[in-house]
């Protein structure tokens, strides 16, 4: 029951495409890495977000294209 609940929560948060969640985690880690080095890091997450959104949408559409 707890495992099912955990799976349900994970599915709720991660959604249809786990790669989006994974990419967000990588982008946050990269931001933390830049900030940790004392470099300007604010620009990274907005750019990564637009790129993630673009690839997620392209991926969703390309799977439905007639071959």
């Amino acid at each position: 029951m707890i495992a099912r609940l955990g799976r349900g929560v994970l599915e709720f948060v991660v959604g249809d495409d786990w790669r989006v969640a994974a990419a967000v985690v990588v982008a946050l880690l990269a931001t933390a890495g830049l900030a940790g080095l004392g470099l300007a890091a604010w620009w990274l997450l907005p750019l990564a977000t637009v790129a993630i959104l673009h690839f997620a949408i392209r991926g969703a559409v390309s799977t439905t294209r007639p071959r």
Binding site: G15, T31, L45, P46, L53, A60, T64, R65
Partner: protein, 249 residues
């Protein structure tokens, strides 16, 4: 009232209104076809579960250290916002079917009429109403908790959600029909942009980045995400994408 507080109210209100419209359609179909008391009992039980969830998790979240809270909430909001925004972009571009309240109402009525009748409390009407309100409400509870906890304004977020539900119920009672004319996708688009913006802002701050201008960076950030999203809609509508199929719901 500060800019982030206004954004909190707008985001929660719009998100809650959209989800309440969808839940209202299902409850109306089940209640009018089966048994109103049982359907409303299901609604009450789901609202109680959601209230307990927000009441229990809200204070717990606000006790987390601010950087931990910001990076966790920012990351979650970003993942969640990208889902909302992605679907809204696909719908705006015609690559995914718009949510049709009249069709959903007809489907729910048909299913409700086929289920066996029961005496006393109608378990079908209770279960369908409970599930509809709980599932639609969970997304709102998530937004209320994340936005509210990060600004230490969970009661304000919960109030915005309650007002949205009251407005939808009042409109539904007045119309006595599914609220099919509510512009659901533009509202979801706006919520997706706002959630994604705050996810980026808080996520980056929690990860150690410093925004130029502090909170003043929120408005240009939202505009940039909106502009990029609209470009994606235009790109999807372009000649290169014609002939592409429709993305499943």
């Amino acid at each position: 009232m500060t800019g982030p507080e206004i954004s909190l109210i707008v985001s929660v209100f719009l998100a809650c209104a959209v989800e309440a419209v969808e839940a209202f359609t299902i409850v109306l179909a089940v209640g009018s076809t089966r048994h109103w008391s049982s359907a409303l009992l299901g609604v009450g039980a789901a609202v109680l579960v959601l209230a307990v969830l927000v009441g229990a998790l809200g204070p717990a979240l606000t006790r987390l250290p601010i950087d931990v809270l910001r990076v966790a909430v920012g990351g979650l909001l970003l993942v969640f916002g990208l889902q909302w925004l992605g679907k809204a972009i696909l719908r705006a571009a015609g690559a995914k079917a718009l949510h049709d309240e009249l069709a959903a109402f007809a489907d729910e009525r048909e299913a409700a009429a086929e289920a066996p009748a029961e005496e006393g409390v109608d378990r079908y009407a209770f279960a369908i109403s409970f599930k509809a309100v709980l599932l639609e409400g969970l997304e709102v509870a998530f937004i209320v908790l994340t936005f509210g906890a990060n600004q230490h304004r969970v009661p304000l977020a919960a109030t915005a959600a309650a007002v949205a539900v009251a407005v939808v119920i009042a409109a539904g009672i007045a119309a006595r029909a599914p609220l099919a004319r509510v512009p659901e996708n533009p509202m979801k688009f706006a919520v997706g942009v706002l959630i994604t913006t705050f996810g980026v802002f808080w996520g980056a701050e929690g990860a150690g980045a410093t925004w130029p201008g502090g909170e003043a960076a929120l408005a240009p950030l939202a505009l940039a995400i909106l502009a990029a999203s609209l470009l994606m809609v235009r790109d999807l509508r372009g000649p290169g994408m014609r002939g592409a199929g429709e993305v499943a719901a």
